[in-house]
Protein backbone atom coordinates (compact mmCIF):
# COMPACT_ATOMS: atom_id res chain seq x y z
CA UNK A 1 0.00 0.00 0.00
CA UNK A 2 1.48 3.32 -1.03
CA UNK A 3 0.47 5.10 2.12
CA UNK A 4 2.94 2.88 4.03
CA UNK A 5 5.97 4.83 2.96
CA UNK A 6 4.69 8.14 4.22
CA UNK A 7 3.60 6.57 7.48
CA UNK A 8 7.08 5.43 8.31
CA UNK A 9 8.36 8.98 8.11
CA UNK A 10 5.63 10.63 10.08
CA UNK A 11 4.39 8.99 13.23
CA UNK A 12 1.12 10.79 13.54
CA UNK A 13 -1.54 10.46 10.87
CA UNK A 14 -2.55 13.98 11.89
CA UNK A 15 0.71 15.49 10.65
CA UNK A 16 0.05 17.99 7.89
CA UNK A 17 2.68 18.87 5.27
CA UNK A 18 3.01 22.20 3.50
CA UNK A 19 2.49 22.21 -0.28
CA UNK A 20 2.92 25.12 -2.66
CA UNK A 21 0.55 26.03 -5.46
CA UNK A 22 2.58 25.76 -8.67
CA UNK A 23 -0.31 26.49 -11.00
CA UNK A 24 -4.05 27.01 -10.84
CA UNK A 25 -6.29 26.56 -13.83
CA UNK A 26 -9.95 27.48 -13.92
CA UNK A 27 -11.61 24.47 -15.53
CA UNK A 28 -15.22 25.54 -15.63
CA UNK A 29 -16.94 28.18 -13.50
CA UNK A 30 -16.34 27.33 -9.84
CA UNK A 31 -13.95 24.46 -10.54
CA UNK A 32 -10.17 24.89 -10.36
CA UNK A 33 -7.38 22.41 -11.00
CA UNK A 34 -4.31 23.02 -8.85
CA UNK A 35 -0.80 21.75 -9.34
CA UNK A 36 0.70 21.28 -5.89
CA UNK A 37 4.27 20.57 -4.88
CA UNK A 38 5.55 19.55 -1.47
CA UNK A 39 7.72 22.16 0.20
CA UNK A 40 9.77 19.55 2.08
CA UNK A 41 11.71 17.33 -0.27
CA UNK A 42 11.84 14.43 2.20
CA UNK A 43 8.09 14.35 2.27
CA UNK A 44 8.01 14.52 -1.50
CA UNK A 45 10.46 11.60 -1.74
CA UNK A 46 8.30 9.48 0.52
CA UNK A 47 5.06 10.40 -1.19
CA UNK A 48 3.52 7.91 -3.53
CA UNK A 49 -0.07 7.93 -4.69
CA UNK A 50 -2.26 5.53 -6.67
CA UNK A 51 -5.01 6.59 -9.07
CA UNK A 52 -8.30 7.02 -7.24
CA UNK A 53 -6.83 7.88 -3.84
CA UNK A 54 -7.47 11.22 -2.17
CA UNK A 55 -5.68 13.83 -0.09
CA UNK A 56 -6.91 16.02 2.72
CA UNK A 57 -6.21 19.60 1.69
CA UNK A 58 -5.88 21.91 4.66
CA UNK A 59 -6.53 25.63 4.82
CA UNK A 60 -5.30 26.81 8.22
CA UNK A 61 -8.17 28.38 10.11
CA UNK A 62 -10.78 26.91 7.78
CA UNK A 63 -10.23 23.17 8.06
CA UNK A 64 -9.70 20.22 5.76
CA UNK A 65 -11.42 19.00 2.65
CA UNK A 66 -11.07 15.57 1.05
CA UNK A 67 -10.08 15.98 -2.59
CA UNK A 68 -9.42 13.08 -4.93
CA UNK A 69 -6.16 13.08 -6.81
CA UNK A 70 -6.65 13.80 -10.50
CA UNK A 71 -3.12 12.97 -11.48
CA UNK A 72 0.48 12.94 -10.43
CA UNK A 73 3.10 14.47 -12.67
CA UNK A 74 6.00 12.08 -11.97
CA UNK A 75 8.50 14.21 -13.83
CA UNK A 76 7.92 17.43 -11.90
CA UNK A 77 6.55 15.62 -8.86
CA UNK A 78 3.42 17.71 -8.85
CA UNK A 79 -0.02 16.69 -7.70
CA UNK A 80 -3.11 17.57 -9.68
CA UNK A 81 -6.18 18.29 -7.60
CA UNK A 82 -9.45 19.47 -9.07
CA UNK A 83 -11.54 21.38 -6.57
CA UNK A 84 -15.10 22.63 -6.71
CA UNK A 85 -15.49 25.84 -4.74
CA UNK A 86 -18.30 25.00 -2.34
CA UNK A 87 -17.60 25.31 1.39
CA UNK A 88 -15.39 27.37 3.67
CA UNK A 89 -12.23 25.40 2.91
CA UNK A 90 -12.50 25.37 -0.86
CA UNK A 91 -13.58 29.01 -0.95
CA UNK A 92 -10.54 30.01 1.09
CA UNK A 93 -8.36 27.86 -1.17
CA UNK A 94 -9.76 29.61 -4.23
CA UNK A 95 -8.55 32.93 -2.84
CA UNK A 96 -4.91 31.75 -2.78
CA UNK A 97 -2.47 32.66 -5.51
CA UNK A 98 0.23 30.73 -7.29
CA UNK A 99 3.19 30.51 -4.93
CA UNK A 100 1.01 30.41 -1.80
CA UNK A 101 1.18 27.49 0.57
CA UNK A 102 -1.46 25.29 2.13
CA UNK A 103 -1.41 22.00 4.01
CA UNK A 104 -1.89 18.41 2.89
CA UNK A 105 -2.27 14.98 4.50
CA UNK A 106 -2.34 11.86 2.39
CA UNK A 107 -2.71 9.95 0.27
CA UNK A 108 -5.59 7.99 1.73
CA UNK A 109 -7.92 5.20 0.74
CA UNK A 110 -8.16 2.49 -1.87
CA UNK A 111 -7.78 3.57 -5.48
CA UNK A 112 -8.82 2.09 -8.81
CA UNK A 113 -7.90 -1.57 -9.47
CA UNK A 114 -5.64 -0.72 -12.41
CA UNK A 115 -3.84 -4.04 -12.22
CA UNK A 116 -6.92 -6.23 -12.06
CA UNK A 117 -8.26 -4.41 -15.13
CA UNK A 118 -5.28 -5.32 -17.31
CA UNK A 119 -5.77 -7.35 -20.44
CA UNK A 120 -9.34 -6.31 -21.12
CA UNK A 121 -11.51 -3.41 -22.16
CA UNK A 122 -11.20 -0.60 -19.64
CA UNK A 123 -14.35 1.51 -19.45
CA UNK A 124 -13.92 4.75 -17.50
CA UNK A 125 -17.13 6.61 -16.79
CA UNK A 126 -17.44 10.08 -15.31
CA UNK A 127 -20.33 12.33 -14.42
CA UNK A 128 -19.75 15.98 -13.54
CA UNK A 129 -16.98 16.47 -11.04
CA UNK A 130 -16.65 12.67 -10.91
CA UNK A 131 -14.24 13.22 -13.78
CA UNK A 132 -11.61 14.25 -11.21
CA UNK A 133 -10.79 10.77 -9.84
CA UNK A 134 -11.47 9.17 -13.26
CA UNK A 135 -8.78 11.39 -14.75
CA UNK A 136 -6.13 9.76 -12.56
CA UNK A 137 -7.17 6.37 -13.95
CA UNK A 138 -7.01 7.72 -17.52
CA UNK A 139 -3.48 9.01 -16.98
CA UNK A 140 -2.35 5.74 -15.43
CA UNK A 141 -3.92 3.67 -18.22
CA UNK A 142 -2.41 5.80 -20.98
CA UNK A 143 0.95 5.57 -19.27
CA UNK A 144 0.74 1.80 -19.75
CA UNK A 145 -1.46 1.80 -22.85
CA UNK A 146 -0.34 -1.63 -23.97
CA UNK A 147 -1.73 -3.31 -20.90
CA UNK A 148 -5.32 -2.65 -21.89
CA UNK A 149 -6.96 -4.12 -24.94
CA UNK A 150 -9.22 -1.10 -25.35
CA UNK A 151 -9.83 2.05 -23.33
CA UNK A 152 -13.10 3.97 -23.45
CA UNK A 153 -13.89 7.17 -21.63
CA UNK A 154 -17.56 8.01 -21.25
CA UNK A 155 -18.15 11.39 -19.68
CA UNK A 156 -21.13 13.58 -19.10
CA UNK A 157 -21.87 17.05 -17.83
CA UNK A 158 -24.85 19.34 -17.56
CA UNK A 159 -23.77 21.41 -20.54
CA UNK A 160 -20.77 21.49 -22.89
CA UNK A 161 -19.08 24.29 -20.96
CA UNK A 162 -19.27 22.15 -17.80
CA UNK A 163 -17.11 19.36 -19.22
CA UNK A 164 -13.80 19.11 -17.43
CA UNK A 165 -10.32 18.66 -18.89
CA UNK A 166 -11.30 19.66 -22.45
CA UNK A 167 -7.72 20.54 -23.38
CA UNK A 168 -6.70 16.92 -22.71
CA UNK A 169 -9.16 15.27 -25.07
CA UNK A 170 -7.01 15.38 -28.22
CA UNK A 171 -4.05 13.98 -26.34
CA UNK A 172 -6.14 11.12 -24.99
CA UNK A 173 -7.57 10.30 -28.39
CA UNK A 174 -4.05 10.33 -29.80
CA UNK A 175 -3.20 7.62 -27.29
CA UNK A 176 -5.86 5.45 -28.91
CA UNK A 177 -8.47 6.06 -26.31
CA UNK A 178 -12.11 6.15 -27.31
CA UNK A 179 -13.80 9.26 -25.93
CA UNK A 180 -17.57 9.67 -25.84
CA UNK A 181 -19.17 12.72 -24.34
CA UNK A 182 -22.71 13.62 -23.51
CA UNK A 183 -24.47 16.64 -22.06
CA UNK A 184 -27.88 17.17 -20.50
CA UNK A 185 -28.43 20.44 -22.33
CA UNK A 186 -26.77 21.10 -25.67
CA UNK A 187 -25.65 24.45 -27.04
CA UNK A 188 -25.88 25.33 -30.76
CA UNK A 189 -22.19 24.50 -31.22
CA UNK A 190 -22.47 21.07 -29.60
CA UNK A 191 -22.51 18.18 -32.01
CA UNK A 192 -22.01 15.34 -29.53
CA UNK A 193 -24.54 13.27 -27.62
CA UNK A 194 -27.36 14.69 -25.60
CA UNK A 195 -28.68 12.68 -22.70
CA UNK A 196 -27.58 10.93 -19.55
CA UNK A 197 -24.34 8.98 -19.18
CA UNK A 198 -25.96 5.52 -18.92
CA UNK A 199 -27.13 5.94 -22.54
CA UNK A 200 -23.46 6.04 -23.59
CA UNK A 201 -22.96 2.76 -21.79
CA UNK A 202 -25.93 1.21 -23.61
CA UNK A 203 -24.42 2.17 -26.97
CA UNK A 204 -20.88 1.10 -26.13
CA UNK A 205 -19.35 -1.82 -28.02
CA UNK A 206 -17.65 -4.00 -25.47
CA UNK A 207 -15.27 -6.44 -27.09
CA UNK A 208 -15.38 -9.08 -24.38
CA UNK A 209 -17.57 -8.43 -21.33
CA UNK A 210 -15.85 -11.21 -19.40
CA UNK A 211 -12.56 -9.29 -19.30
CA UNK A 212 -13.93 -5.75 -19.36
CA UNK A 213 -13.68 -3.53 -16.25
CA UNK A 214 -15.91 -0.58 -15.49
CA UNK A 215 -14.81 2.29 -13.25
CA UNK A 216 -17.42 4.93 -12.45
CA UNK A 217 -17.52 8.16 -10.54
CA UNK A 218 -20.34 10.65 -10.46
CA UNK A 219 -23.49 11.47 -8.54
CA UNK A 220 -24.93 8.38 -6.83
CA UNK A 221 -28.05 8.27 -8.97
CA UNK A 222 -25.94 8.49 -12.14
CA UNK A 223 -23.73 5.65 -10.90
CA UNK A 224 -26.76 3.56 -10.05
CA UNK A 225 -28.15 3.72 -13.61
CA UNK A 226 -24.71 3.42 -15.16
CA UNK A 227 -24.14 0.18 -13.30
CA UNK A 228 -27.54 -1.11 -14.46
CA UNK A 229 -26.52 -0.43 -18.05
CA UNK A 230 -23.13 -2.07 -17.52
CA UNK A 231 -24.79 -5.18 -16.11
CA UNK A 232 -27.08 -5.29 -19.15
CA UNK A 233 -23.91 -5.27 -21.24
CA UNK A 234 -23.04 -8.52 -19.44
CA UNK A 235 -20.25 -7.07 -17.37
CA UNK A 236 -19.88 -8.99 -14.16
CA UNK A 237 -20.68 -7.13 -10.93
CA UNK A 238 -17.23 -8.06 -9.66
CA UNK A 239 -15.68 -6.02 -12.46
CA UNK A 240 -17.62 -2.84 -11.74
CA UNK A 241 -16.01 -0.30 -9.41
CA UNK A 242 -17.47 2.90 -8.00
CA UNK A 243 -15.76 5.82 -6.34
CA UNK A 244 -18.05 6.87 -3.51
CA UNK A 245 -18.27 10.07 -1.57
CA UNK A 246 -19.15 10.70 2.06
CA UNK A 247 -18.10 13.29 4.62
CA UNK A 248 -14.46 12.43 5.19
CA UNK A 249 -13.22 14.11 8.31
CA UNK A 250 -10.20 12.19 9.67
CA UNK A 251 -9.42 10.10 6.56
CA UNK A 252 -8.01 7.28 8.70
CA UNK A 253 -11.12 5.41 9.80
CA UNK A 254 -11.13 6.85 13.30
CA UNK A 255 -13.87 9.48 13.26
CA UNK A 256 -16.87 7.56 11.90
CA UNK A 257 -18.20 10.29 9.63
CA UNK A 258 -17.85 8.61 6.25
CA UNK A 259 -19.56 5.32 7.03
CA UNK A 260 -21.69 3.81 4.33
CA UNK A 261 -23.15 0.58 5.69
CA UNK A 262 -20.15 -1.56 6.62
CA UNK A 263 -17.64 0.57 4.70
CA UNK A 264 -15.57 3.47 5.85
CA UNK A 265 -15.38 5.38 2.58
CA UNK A 266 -12.05 6.89 3.66
CA UNK A 267 -10.17 3.65 4.17
CA UNK A 268 -12.19 0.85 2.52
CA UNK A 269 -12.99 3.21 -0.35
CA UNK A 270 -13.39 5.63 -1.93
CA UNK A 271 -13.21 3.04 -4.70
CA UNK A 272 -15.45 0.09 -3.85
CA UNK A 273 -16.46 -2.97 -5.82
CA UNK A 274 -20.10 -2.71 -6.81
CA UNK A 275 -21.28 -6.09 -5.54
CA UNK A 276 -19.91 -5.35 -2.08
CA UNK A 277 -22.13 -2.32 -1.63
CA UNK A 278 -25.01 -3.04 -4.01
CA UNK A 279 -27.52 -3.88 -1.29
CA UNK A 280 -26.74 -0.67 0.60
CA UNK A 281 -27.02 1.64 -2.41
CA UNK A 282 -30.75 0.95 -2.44
CA UNK A 283 -31.32 2.13 1.13
CA UNK A 284 -32.32 5.76 1.57
CA UNK A 285 -30.48 7.79 4.19
CA UNK A 286 -27.97 5.11 5.08
Amino acid sequence: MPAESLREKTVSPWQIHPVRIVAAKAEVPGVITYRLKFVDQNVEDAYSVSPGQFNMLYMPGYGESAISVSGYDEQNRELLQTVRVAGNVTRALSRLNVGDELGLRGPFGQGWPMKAAQGGHLVLIAGGLGFAPIRSAIEAAICHRGRYEKISILAGARSPDQLLYREQYEQWKAAQVELRLTVDRATPQWNGNVGVVPLLVDRLKISNPATATVMVCGPEVMMWYTVKSAIEQNISVERIWLSMERNMNCAIGHCGHCQFGPAFICKDGPVLRYDRIASYLKIKGL
Binding site: R91, A92, R95
Partner: protein, 272 residues
Protein backbone atom coordinates in the same frame (compact mmCIF):
# COMPACT_ATOMS: atom_id res chain seq x y z
CA UNK B 1 -23.79 35.01 2.62
CA UNK B 2 -21.88 38.06 1.49
CA UNK B 3 -18.43 38.80 2.71
CA UNK B 4 -17.35 41.94 4.48
CA UNK B 5 -14.08 42.29 2.64
CA UNK B 6 -14.40 42.82 -1.03
CA UNK B 7 -11.00 44.17 -1.80
CA UNK B 8 -7.66 44.07 -0.12
CA UNK B 9 -7.04 47.78 0.07
CA UNK B 10 -10.31 48.81 1.56
CA UNK B 11 -10.48 50.36 4.94
CA UNK B 12 -11.66 48.49 8.00
CA UNK B 13 -15.11 46.91 7.77
CA UNK B 14 -17.85 48.79 9.57
CA UNK B 15 -19.63 47.06 12.43
CA UNK B 16 -23.01 48.20 13.72
CA UNK B 17 -25.08 46.96 16.63
CA UNK B 18 -28.81 47.72 16.75
CA UNK B 19 -31.17 47.13 19.59
CA UNK B 20 -34.88 46.32 19.40
CA UNK B 21 -37.08 44.97 22.21
CA UNK B 22 -34.56 43.31 24.49
CA UNK B 23 -32.72 43.53 27.80
CA UNK B 24 -29.30 44.49 26.33
CA UNK B 25 -27.79 41.29 27.71
CA UNK B 26 -26.50 40.12 24.33
CA UNK B 27 -24.82 43.46 23.66
CA UNK B 28 -23.26 43.12 27.10
CA UNK B 29 -21.84 39.76 26.02
CA UNK B 30 -19.92 41.64 23.36
CA UNK B 31 -18.75 44.28 25.86
CA UNK B 32 -17.74 41.46 28.21
CA UNK B 33 -15.51 39.96 25.56
CA UNK B 34 -12.69 42.04 27.09
CA UNK B 35 -9.37 41.44 25.32
CA UNK B 36 -11.16 39.98 22.33
CA UNK B 37 -13.16 43.19 22.14
CA UNK B 38 -9.91 45.12 21.85
CA UNK B 39 -8.82 42.92 18.95
CA UNK B 40 -12.25 43.27 17.35
CA UNK B 41 -11.93 47.03 17.76
CA UNK B 42 -8.64 46.87 15.88
CA UNK B 43 -10.05 44.73 13.09
CA UNK B 44 -13.29 46.61 12.52
CA UNK B 45 -14.58 50.13 12.79
CA UNK B 46 -17.36 50.20 15.37
CA UNK B 47 -19.71 52.56 13.59
CA UNK B 48 -22.88 52.21 15.56
CA UNK B 49 -23.02 50.68 19.03
CA UNK B 50 -25.02 52.85 21.39
CA UNK B 51 -24.46 50.56 24.34
CA UNK B 52 -20.73 51.26 24.04
CA UNK B 53 -20.44 54.72 22.54
CA UNK B 54 -22.59 57.69 21.57
CA UNK B 55 -20.43 58.19 18.50
CA UNK B 56 -22.58 57.20 15.58
CA UNK B 57 -21.72 56.89 11.93
CA UNK B 58 -24.19 56.48 9.14
CA UNK B 59 -24.44 53.32 7.09
CA UNK B 60 -24.04 51.30 5.07
CA UNK B 61 -22.50 48.80 7.46
CA UNK B 62 -20.53 45.73 6.54
CA UNK B 63 -21.67 43.67 9.49
CA UNK B 64 -24.75 44.43 11.56
CA UNK B 65 -25.65 42.67 14.77
CA UNK B 66 -29.29 42.94 15.73
CA UNK B 67 -30.52 42.37 19.26
CA UNK B 68 -34.16 42.23 20.26
CA UNK B 69 -37.54 41.47 18.75
CA UNK B 70 -40.12 43.50 16.89
CA UNK B 71 -42.85 44.72 19.23
CA UNK B 72 -43.82 48.18 17.97
CA UNK B 73 -44.94 49.62 14.64
CA UNK B 74 -41.92 51.93 14.76
CA UNK B 75 -39.49 49.04 15.12
CA UNK B 76 -41.23 47.24 12.32
CA UNK B 77 -40.27 50.15 10.06
CA UNK B 78 -36.82 50.63 11.57
CA UNK B 79 -35.71 47.05 10.93
CA UNK B 80 -36.40 47.52 7.22
CA UNK B 81 -34.06 50.51 7.22
CA UNK B 82 -31.39 48.57 9.19
CA UNK B 83 -31.59 45.78 6.67
CA UNK B 84 -31.13 48.20 3.78
CA UNK B 85 -28.03 49.62 5.43
CA UNK B 86 -26.45 46.20 6.19
CA UNK B 87 -24.45 43.95 3.94
CA UNK B 88 -24.42 41.07 6.43
CA UNK B 89 -27.14 41.02 9.06
CA UNK B 90 -26.79 38.70 12.05
CA UNK B 91 -29.41 38.38 14.76
CA UNK B 92 -28.04 37.83 18.25
CA UNK B 93 -29.99 36.15 21.01
CA UNK B 94 -33.35 34.57 21.68
CA UNK B 95 -35.31 37.85 21.28
CA UNK B 96 -33.99 38.53 17.81
CA UNK B 97 -34.12 34.90 16.64
CA UNK B 98 -37.43 33.80 18.18
CA UNK B 99 -39.18 36.79 19.75
CA UNK B 100 -37.75 36.28 23.23
CA UNK B 101 -39.53 35.99 26.57
CA UNK B 102 -41.70 38.92 25.54
CA UNK B 103 -43.25 36.67 22.89
CA UNK B 104 -45.38 35.34 25.76
CA UNK B 105 -47.64 38.27 24.93
CA UNK B 106 -48.53 36.39 21.75
CA UNK B 107 -50.67 34.12 23.93
CA UNK B 108 -52.10 36.90 26.08
CA UNK B 109 -54.52 39.76 25.74
CA UNK B 110 -52.49 42.72 24.62
CA UNK B 111 -55.12 45.30 25.60
CA UNK B 112 -55.54 43.82 29.02
CA UNK B 113 -51.80 43.88 29.67
CA UNK B 114 -51.63 47.54 28.72
CA UNK B 115 -54.47 48.42 31.04
CA UNK B 116 -52.98 46.47 33.89
CA UNK B 117 -49.45 47.84 33.65
CA UNK B 118 -49.72 51.45 32.53
CA UNK B 119 -51.76 54.27 34.02
CA UNK B 120 -52.02 55.88 30.59
CA UNK B 121 -52.05 53.12 28.00
CA UNK B 122 -53.24 55.61 25.43
CA UNK B 123 -49.64 56.85 25.11
CA UNK B 124 -48.47 53.38 24.06
CA UNK B 125 -48.02 52.38 20.49
CA UNK B 126 -47.20 48.68 20.49
CA UNK B 127 -47.96 45.57 18.50
CA UNK B 128 -49.97 42.68 19.90
CA UNK B 129 -47.08 40.34 19.16
CA UNK B 130 -43.35 40.03 19.68
CA UNK B 131 -41.77 38.50 16.61
CA UNK B 132 -38.36 37.43 15.40
CA UNK B 133 -36.31 39.63 13.09
CA UNK B 134 -36.46 36.95 10.41
CA UNK B 135 -40.25 37.38 10.33
CA UNK B 136 -39.62 40.86 8.92
CA UNK B 137 -36.38 40.89 6.95
CA UNK B 138 -33.90 38.45 5.47
CA UNK B 139 -31.38 37.36 8.10
CA UNK B 140 -27.96 36.07 7.06
CA UNK B 141 -27.12 34.28 10.26
CA UNK B 142 -28.69 33.66 13.66
CA UNK B 143 -26.81 33.40 16.92
CA UNK B 144 -28.83 31.66 19.61
CA UNK B 145 -28.96 32.02 23.37
CA UNK B 146 -30.27 34.15 26.20
CA UNK B 147 -27.84 35.72 26.30
CA UNK B 148 -25.62 34.67 23.42
CA UNK B 149 -22.41 32.88 24.31
CA UNK B 150 -19.51 35.31 24.34
CA UNK B 151 -17.18 32.83 22.66
CA UNK B 152 -19.65 32.12 19.86
CA UNK B 153 -20.17 35.84 19.33
CA UNK B 154 -16.44 36.52 19.00
CA UNK B 155 -16.08 33.47 16.76
CA UNK B 156 -18.90 34.70 14.57
CA UNK B 157 -17.30 38.10 14.11
CA UNK B 158 -13.92 36.47 13.43
CA UNK B 159 -15.47 34.09 10.92
CA UNK B 160 -17.10 36.90 9.04
CA UNK B 161 -13.88 38.96 9.08
CA UNK B 162 -12.01 35.98 7.64
CA UNK B 163 -14.71 35.29 5.07
CA UNK B 164 -15.78 32.04 6.67
CA UNK B 165 -19.36 30.96 6.86
CA UNK B 166 -20.02 30.56 10.59
CA UNK B 167 -20.83 26.95 11.43
CA UNK B 168 -22.02 26.38 14.94
CA UNK B 169 -23.17 23.00 16.23
CA UNK B 170 -26.86 22.26 15.73
CA UNK B 171 -26.86 19.24 18.03
CA UNK B 172 -28.26 18.96 21.54
CA UNK B 173 -26.84 20.46 24.74
CA UNK B 174 -26.37 16.85 25.94
CA UNK B 175 -23.14 16.51 23.98
CA UNK B 176 -21.70 19.47 25.83
CA UNK B 177 -22.78 18.10 29.22
CA UNK B 178 -21.17 14.76 28.49
CA UNK B 179 -18.03 16.31 27.04
CA UNK B 180 -17.55 18.48 30.09
CA UNK B 181 -18.30 15.65 32.50
CA UNK B 182 -21.64 16.93 33.76
CA UNK B 183 -23.83 14.06 34.91
CA UNK B 184 -27.36 14.10 33.48
CA UNK B 185 -29.73 15.84 35.91
CA UNK B 186 -32.76 14.37 34.17
CA UNK B 187 -31.64 10.78 34.62
CA UNK B 188 -30.15 11.07 38.12
CA UNK B 189 -32.72 13.38 39.67
CA UNK B 190 -35.73 13.44 37.41
CA UNK B 191 -35.31 17.18 36.83
CA UNK B 192 -37.20 18.22 33.68
CA UNK B 193 -34.46 19.27 31.27
CA UNK B 194 -34.87 20.61 27.74
CA UNK B 195 -31.21 19.82 26.98
CA UNK B 196 -31.96 16.89 24.63
CA UNK B 197 -34.03 19.12 22.33
CA UNK B 198 -32.08 22.36 22.80
CA UNK B 199 -29.26 23.49 20.60
CA UNK B 200 -25.78 23.45 22.10
CA UNK B 201 -23.63 26.53 22.50
CA UNK B 202 -23.90 27.35 26.19
CA UNK B 203 -21.48 24.59 27.21
CA UNK B 204 -24.16 22.84 29.28
CA UNK B 205 -24.29 25.74 31.72
CA UNK B 206 -27.47 25.07 33.73
CA UNK B 207 -27.08 21.30 34.21
CA UNK B 208 -23.53 22.09 35.37
CA UNK B 209 -25.19 24.00 38.20
CA UNK B 210 -27.67 21.23 39.02
CA UNK B 211 -30.53 22.77 37.06
CA UNK B 212 -32.47 21.55 34.08
CA UNK B 213 -31.91 23.29 30.74
CA UNK B 214 -34.74 25.73 30.00
CA UNK B 215 -34.00 25.92 26.32
CA UNK B 216 -32.55 29.39 25.99
CA UNK B 217 -30.58 28.38 22.87
CA UNK B 218 -33.79 27.29 21.18
CA UNK B 219 -34.65 24.00 19.53
CA UNK B 220 -32.14 21.69 17.87
CA UNK B 221 -32.51 21.00 14.18
CA UNK B 222 -35.41 18.50 13.87
CA UNK B 223 -36.12 18.77 17.61
CA UNK B 224 -38.44 15.95 18.71
CA UNK B 225 -40.30 18.00 21.30
CA UNK B 226 -43.25 15.64 21.54
CA UNK B 227 -40.87 12.74 22.19
CA UNK B 228 -39.69 14.53 25.31
CA UNK B 229 -43.11 15.71 26.42
CA UNK B 230 -44.53 12.18 26.12
CA UNK B 231 -41.82 10.93 28.46
CA UNK B 232 -42.28 13.75 30.95
CA UNK B 233 -46.06 13.33 31.01
CA UNK B 234 -45.64 9.61 31.48
CA UNK B 235 -43.40 10.40 34.44
CA UNK B 236 -46.03 12.47 36.18
CA UNK B 237 -45.12 15.94 35.05
CA UNK B 238 -48.39 17.88 34.87
CA UNK B 239 -49.21 19.77 31.69
CA UNK B 240 -49.58 22.87 33.80
CA UNK B 241 -45.82 22.73 34.33
CA UNK B 242 -44.83 21.35 30.96
CA UNK B 243 -46.49 24.12 28.93
CA UNK B 244 -44.63 26.91 30.75
CA UNK B 245 -41.40 24.92 30.38
CA UNK B 246 -41.81 25.11 26.61
CA UNK B 247 -43.14 28.68 26.67
CA UNK B 248 -40.03 30.32 27.92
CA UNK B 249 -37.25 32.35 26.30
CA UNK B 250 -37.85 30.62 23.00
CA UNK B 251 -41.62 30.30 23.28
CA UNK B 252 -41.91 31.62 19.74
CA UNK B 253 -39.54 29.08 18.18
CA UNK B 254 -41.68 26.85 15.97
CA UNK B 255 -41.07 23.38 17.51
CA UNK B 256 -41.50 24.69 21.07
CA UNK B 257 -44.51 26.79 20.12
CA UNK B 258 -46.31 24.00 18.31
CA UNK B 259 -45.87 21.41 21.06
CA UNK B 260 -46.74 23.97 23.74
CA UNK B 261 -49.92 24.82 21.85
CA UNK B 262 -50.81 21.18 21.36
CA UNK B 263 -50.41 20.46 25.07
CA UNK B 264 -52.35 23.58 26.01
CA UNK B 265 -55.22 22.52 23.74
CA UNK B 266 -55.26 19.08 25.35
CA UNK B 267 -55.22 20.71 28.74
CA UNK B 268 -58.21 22.88 27.81
CA UNK B 269 -60.13 19.85 26.56
CA UNK B 270 -59.38 17.96 29.75
CA UNK B 271 -60.65 20.87 31.84
CA UNK B 272 -63.94 21.05 29.99
Amino acid sequence: MGSVRNSKNRKKPKLAVFKFASCDGCQLSLLNAEEDLVSIGEAVEISHFLEASSHVEVGPYDLTLVEGSITTPGDRERIQEVRKQSRVLVTIGACATAGGIQALRNWGDHEEFQQAVYPHPEFLDTLATSTAISDHVQVDFELRGCPVNKKQLVELITDILHQRKPRFPRHAVCLECKQSGTVCVAVTRGIPCLGPITQAGCGGLCPGYDRGCYGCFGPTAQANVSGLSHWLLKHDMPKTELVPLLRNFNAGATPFREEGNRLAREQDTELE
